[in-house]
């Protein structure tokens, strides 16, 4: 296997879902079994992606494959310079792992949906949409330049709009899809601005070229401040897509889509795209930009976690938990833990997809009941669903032997180390607090759903375990949530193969004064020493600087113990509250009623936005409408009456003044047309006369 075949295989994986989408969409009406085609296509894509993953990680661990072709070559543009836009794909370890995650979860969602969506009247179309969605996401994964990312970014936006609003007859669903689309656009404007800033400075969209030029010392407008601004603007796209504070409001509403779609969009693909983008631009982020990202991440981790504590809709709990976990990843990037952020992205993708699919299984069993207060005792009725969900919940809470423990522990240790190095301890505290709340609300969900007495006997009686097509994906994902896939040591991911050899943190390219101090490598005494020392050091995988690696090393043990402690505390509290009923929950909530309501009503974000942005927009449009109807119309009417009164003889001007120019041009060219075609008399001798005449005229012009 060589470069070319890698690229070819990658292109095949990329375009297969598009092919599936096209065929399924166009023949879906004619053949009712067309969805099987899409399922087969995605299975092939999955098989190729596994092969790629294997080949890349085992045989080409340190290689990076790039293929690109010039797309638009404008040459030298006046006033701008060289303008060449390339199309390209890049394959490195992060790409293949992400590729595998997307393909796997997409395939599992396909299988799951066969059973879950059975009987839907737009069954085939649903599968076609899954295809285009997977295609768009894979485009982001493979993209080698900002423009392609942006194109596929918008495609993801479009396809998520189609999927969230799949049941568009339901007003809430169509509203939710519109909300998701529009809120995402807000972030995208920032991202586009960032991309254009980069393009005007570097005349290219390609990552590598941009990084090289930054390394060579070229900054936007030659100022470090603008470098920071560029990074933050690009991150704005991620804020929208990854549902980070303050643009997180679309994600909970997006639960109106079919549940497997939620698993696809909110676990592995769309929301992960934001984190993926931030990882891709990581080298060009300055220290200030990273700090901004960390703050956004911490807020996004904390606020939704508090909201999730009180929600009763099973999918809403998971939705807020998703935002919170994404906040974790964003925070991890902010504190410089590139590899742990990506690691958490992967592990979270598996167990969160599992949680959504599991909730889908429960909802399916309960005949589309989503309120956990109506459930209870389902453990016996849905054994497979129960045990898999238990596994995911352990993982997300960060209990040892699970994948979630490894990644979460890494993030917390990084935050802790970061605090030690820079003094910003708040991130570590937030992290532990959120871990506590996560464990609590997840097990609240588990206990309320599966344990205790059934609270709705009627629905409980009709509940049944889901078919194998639905449980098999659950089991697959549960197995992937075990530590053994990522490291041999269940307590330290740093020594495992994922962290030590597969994911390499790229070095920052921004000038050293703009970085965090710990990201600057201290100069060794002599160059020779450094050269000799470099060989063994490669195996240690130095991240940023020895200082940082050292701090990580020291932070690891306390962070692990503390995170384990808070996880157990969270689970224990949930157990005491909802199993043992030691504390009367209702009494407690009434005691802290304002806080409870604040959480239950999601911090009133929707109301806040409605009162501010939406109201502002509405206000502005009202003012405009008023302006339009009174001032503009007034002027028009006024001028009309004035002309009428002043000159009865000629009111030709009347309304032609307003829109006459365009009409005039059209009529004028029309008249000219009638005029010039009269030259074409049909008589060949006239033509010759006219030629001779024009020759003479031309002669006089040009002599």
């Amino acid at each position: 296997m060589n470069d070319i075949s890698f690229i070819q295989a990658a292109l095949a994986v990329l375009f297969l879902p598009l092919f599936g989408f096209t065929v399924t969409l166009f023949f879906g009406k004619r053949f009712s079994k067309m969805y099987l085609f899409e399922v087969a296509i995605i299975s092939i894509a999955l098989a190729i992606s596994i092969y790629l993953l294997f080949m890349k990680l085992v045989y080409f661990t340190d290689a990076k494959f790039v293929a690109q072709i010039p797309w638009i070559n404008m040459g030298d543009m006046p006033g701008f310079g060289k303008m060449v836009i390339d199309l390209g794909i890049m394959i490195d370890n992060v790409t293949v792992i992400m590729l595998f995650v997307v393909c796997l979860i997409s395939a599992l969602v396909h299988y799951f949906s066969i059973a879950y969506m059975k009987g839907d009247k737009r069954y085939n179309r649903y599968f076609a949409y899954l295809g285009i969605f997977t295609f768009s996401m894979l485009g982001i994964v493979f993209a080698h330049n900002m423009l392609m990312i942006y194109i596929f970014w918008e495609l993801v936006g479009l396809s998520s709009y189609l999927l969230i609003g799949f049941w568009y007859e339901k007003k809430s669903a169509s509203d939710a899809s519109k909300k998701a689309f529009l809120v995402n656009r807000v972030g995208d404007i920032g991202m586009l601005a960032g991309i254009l800033l980069l393009f005007t400075t570097y005349h290219t969209f390609t990552f590598d070229v941009i990084f090289e030029q930054i390394k060579a010392g070229q900054l936007p407008f030659n100022s470090g401040f603008w470098m920071t601004v560029t990074g933050i603007l690009l991150f704005c796209g991620a804020i929208g897509k990854s549902a980070q504070f303050p643009l997180h409001v679309w994600l909970p509403d997006a639960m109106e889509g079919p549940t497997p779609v939620s698993a696809l969009i909110h676990a592995a693909t769309m929301v992960a795209a934001g984190v993926y983008l931030t990882l891709r631009i990581f080298p060009l982020l300055t220290g200030d930009a990273l700090l901004f990202i960390a703050i956004i991440g911490a807020l996004s981790a904390f606020i939704p976690a508090t909201i999730a504590l009180t929600q009763n809709d099973i999918k809403k709990v998971l939705a807020y938990s998703t935002i919170s976990q994404l906040g974790y990843m964003t925070m991890a990037i902010g504190v410089g833990a590139y590899s742990y952020a990506f690691f958490h992205l992967v592990t979270h993708a598996f167990f969160k997809a599992g949680l959504f699919l599991g909730s889908g299984s429960v909802i399916h069993a309960m005949h589309h009941e989503q309120d956990i207060q109506q459930m209870g005792g389902l453990k016996n009725k849905l054994p497979i669903t129960y045990y898999t969900i238990l596994m995911y919940s352990l993982a997300i809470s960060g209990i040892p032997l699970t994948s979630g423990f490894l990644s979460k522990d890494g993030i917390l240790a990084s935050a802790y180390a970061f605090g030690g190095l820079t003094g910003h301890q708040i991130f570590a505290y937030t992290g532990f607090l959120v871990a506590l709340m996560t464990a609590f609300y997840m097990f609240r969900l588990v206990f309320l759903t599966f344990h205790g007495e059934p609270r709705n006997q009627h629905k409980y009686d009709h509940a049944h375990e889901s078919p194998a097509l639905m449980t098999a994906p659950l089991i697959t994902l549960a197995i992937l949530s075990v530590f053994a896939f990522y490291t041999a040591n269940p307590f330290d991911a740093g020594k495992g193969w994922v962290m030590s050899s597969w994911i390499k943190t790229p070095g920052s390219v921004v000038p050293e004064v703009l970085r965090y101090p710990f990201m600057v490598e201290k100069k060794t005494e002599s160059a020779e020493n450094a050269h000799e020392a470099a060989i063994p050091e490669q195996q240690v995988n130095i991240v940023h600087s020895e200082e940082y690696t050292e701090a990580m090393h020291h932070a690891h043990l306390p962070a692990m113990l503390l995170s384990l402690l808070v996880a157990l505390a969270g689970i224990g509290t949930a157990y005491l509250f909802y199993m043992k009923k030691v504390v009367d929950v209702d009494k407690l909530t009434s005691k802290i009623k304002p806080l409870y309501l604040f959480s239950l009503n999601k911090w009133y974000f929707d109301e806040l936005y409605a009162a501010t942005f939406v109201a502002f927009t509405m206000g502005v449009s009202k003012v405009l409408a008023w302006f339009d109807s009174y001032i503009v119309d007034g002027i028009v009417n006024g001028s009309a009456s004035i002309t009428k009164y002043l000159s009865n003889a000629s009111n030709l001007f009347d309304k032609y003044v307003v829109d006459g120019l365009v009409n005039f041009m059209a009529i004028f060219s029309g008249f000219l047309g009638i005029f010039v075609r009269k030259f074409q008399t049909g008589k060949v001798q006239t033509y010759i006369v006219m030629v001779a005449f024009s020759l003479i005229v031309l002669l006089f012009i040009f002599i």
Binding site: R677, K678, T681, G682, K683, Q685, I688
Partner: protein, 102 residues
């Protein structure tokens, strides 16, 4: 009287003008074709005269030969087309054949 290059050029210009005049004024398609022949032969006179009165190689005479052959071919084709016109329109008045216009 010496015959100079200018005499030839005057003849050829007259021939060219008569040809053009004939093409524009005659109704009969065959007469129009004759006008075209006049134009071509005006060019031929030019070629030959220039060739004769310059001291370069006699390329103009070769050109004239080519043009004569081409003129024959052109009239053959044009006459065939005129014949076909006669079949469909039952006259060969050029100014009456103006169905395609504007």
């Amino acid at each position: 009287m010496n015959i100079t290059l200018n005499h030839f050029l005057i003849v050829s210009s007259l021939l060219f003008s008569f040809g053009l005049y004939g093409i524009v004024t005659r109704k009969n398609a065959v007469m129009v074709l004759m006008g075209i022949e006049l134009i071509l032969n005006a060019a031929n006179i030019n070629f030959l005269a220039f060739s004769r009165y310059s001291n370069s190689i006699d390329f103009g005479q070769v050109a004239a030969l080519f043009v004569i052959i081409l003129a024959a071919a052109e009239s053959a084709i044009a006459l065939a087309i005129v014949l076909n016109i006669y079949k469909t329109f039952v006259n060969i008045n050029v100014d009456e054949i103006d169905k395609l216009r504007e």
